[in-house]
Symmetry: C2
Subunit: 357 residues, 2 copies
């Protein structure tokens, strides 16, 4: 049995952090006889430089064949003035839609060792453990029609379409209800049903699904209130489910509550549990190439990959335990540095995790 892992380092700090995660995966591959084989391909800005497109055919083909993908990050200022269709982000969006990775799981967890990094008061965030389930292949990100048109008045109008079908809502709803069943059994669906018709339907379908999951307590919240409640009392949440755009905003807000976004992994799954795994943070062009980026979110993304796409719970737990151990040892990259801790480089952090395995 051989399982194919595609590594997509991408841009900015991507290559540095993916390199550390690859070492970690190699080690658990041996330790647990996982039978993983690795390939690498270009995506985002790196692919634009080489192939003039953010998502080369060859990359997409490899992605489709892979059992799972580990992505670093895409994007950087040097590509910011390209037309939208040619930008690095289109590589990411293209992978999501071509592989139908509709379920984005974004945990926001406060590591007790890093509690002081949060900008929130300790009593508000200590023990925080939220899972945001974001729909990732629909909504306004992919809605048609879209563009810029000239009106009769002669002025231009920009427009996008926010649309969801019943089945798109139903499948992400199921993922969220199932996640809630395995956690605290509380699901909060976030919408703007007092203004947007598409989210009225969203709410109806969540209500409808509820009957299939009688053990889960479902609530609804408007997105503006959710943005407030995350700041006011984030521990009221267990699992949050929402559409692509609201999920983009709320998952980043929730991640930042922990103060250590350099620690947070994410998974994007399709119906076959094939998945793309990536850190929540971006390509951080300002620190790229300096060897100081935090590889832990990518290493923890590799753990998520083992758990969700490969069913290797033990290997996943081993990685997570190793990460916890290096934090206990007081090792910190610059982004999570605090007084009394030991500041280490990207590579030293990766090596410490290897040693802890």
């Amino acid at each position: 049995m051989s399982r194919k892992i595609l590594m997509l380092p991408g841009d900015g700090i991507g290559p540095e952090i993916v390199a550390e995660a690859e070492k970690v995966l190699n080690k658990v591959n041996d330790q647990f006889s996982l039978g993983l084989s690795f390939e690498t391909a270009l995506v985002g800005g790196a692919a634009i430089e080489e192939d003039d497109t953010p998502l080369p055919e060859s990359t997409l083909a490899k992605a489709k064949e892979a059992d799972a993908i580990l992505l670093g990050a895409v994007g950087g200022p040097q590509w910011d003035s390209l037309p939208m269709a040619k930008r690095p982000e289109k590589g990411l969006l293209g992978l999501r839609s071509n592989l139908q990775l509709f379920a984005n799981l974004r945990p926001a967890i406060l590591y007790p060792q890093l509690a002081s990094a949060s900008s929130l008061k300790p009593e508000v965030v200590s023990g925080l453990d939220i899972m945001i389930v974001r729909e990732l292949t629909g909504g306004i990100y992919f809605g048609q029609p879209r563009g810029v048109r000239e009106l009769e008045s002669g002025e231009r109008q920009g427009y996008n379409t926010y649309a969801y079908t019943e089945s798109e809502i139903r499948r992400i709803g199921r993922v969220a209800f199932e996640a809630a069943q395995q956690r605290g059994k509380k699901l909060c669906s976030v919408d703007k049903a007092n203004v947007l018709e598409v989210t009225v339907m969203w709410r109806e379908i969540m209500e409808d699904l509820k009957r299939e999951y009688p053990d889960v307590e479902l609530s609804h919240m408007y997105v503006d209130n959710a943005a407030m409640q995350l700041v006011r009392a984030p521990k009221q949440f267990d699992v949050i489910v929402t559409g692509n755009m609201f999920g983009d905003i709320l998952s980043d807000e929730a991640a930042m509550l922990t103060g250590s976004i350099g620690m947070l992994p994410s998974a994007s799954l399709n119906a076959q549990k094939q998945g793309m795994y990536e850190p929540c943070h971006g390509s951080a062009p300002d620190i790229a190439g300096k060897g100081i980026a935090n590889p832990l979110a990518t290493i923890l993304s590799a753990a998520m990959m083992l758990r969700y796409s490969l069913g290797e719970e033990k290997a996943a737990e081993a990685i997570e335990a190793a990460v916890s151990k290096v934090l206990d040892q007081g090792l910190r990259t610059a982004d999570i540095m605090s007084e009394g801790a030991e500041k280490v480089s990207t590579r030293a952090m990766g090596e410490a995790v290897l040693a802890a395995l």
Copy 2:
């Protein structure tokens, strides 16, 4: 000279808090010989009960004639299952669009007396003073087409349209640049230009406007990053400008950073500076009728009204000074109560402001 003020108490705690603000307005009307005259009308759920519509013709007619409007809040669970067109919120949205109140100003200010109410660490929020300028009559709130349709496959699809014309963007941009000129001269425009075409145009027009305001430093931020940065380091912001939907989310998030949303006023202005003023908090049905709601956001909204629509800066400052004084005296409604302070009712708080005037 007589200037007409329309009071719209609305639902939930609306009537209680508007009553206190009206007393305050009456007092400064005398003190500063402002020549204000007052009328009252129904909107939201209160209007639905009486007239079967959230925005009766008579209310709209009075609103059009008024120099300024003071609104309490609309909405409540008893109307939540009505079809969208009949809900209390449509009263609010109808006023905004009929009066073309396109510029929504939402300050997020941390009152030093209430610093401990914030869920953020004191050093992160002390001295916080942000102004969010939200476009209020366009974007996805009003975009057409919208609704639910049946696809050929037989399944339903919900859809909304996010659209802006050049002139809509330009006029809200000018309001924001002007606000920045009168404040810290820093403007951050929030968009999602890496994904949404309409916001690519938004960004272009903000860049274009920049040349007319050379003294203002303009930056751009993606909305997901803005949601993070507000949590991480909110004091980096001076003025934020954004569209209707992102503004709804970010202004509530920013308001909650202060921990005392019961203190925050807002203004919604049209090109003639006619305006509707309302507290940022909602109708709080759970505490309606109990006499414990905080009237200060509404009283401060009345001060904003005097400043922006009536040009009565002195009277506005008198109200703001009176509010500051009652906070110094240690008076607190339940929502902002803290140890050692004196808990007071809605009416007692209103009376204390009157006494301080």
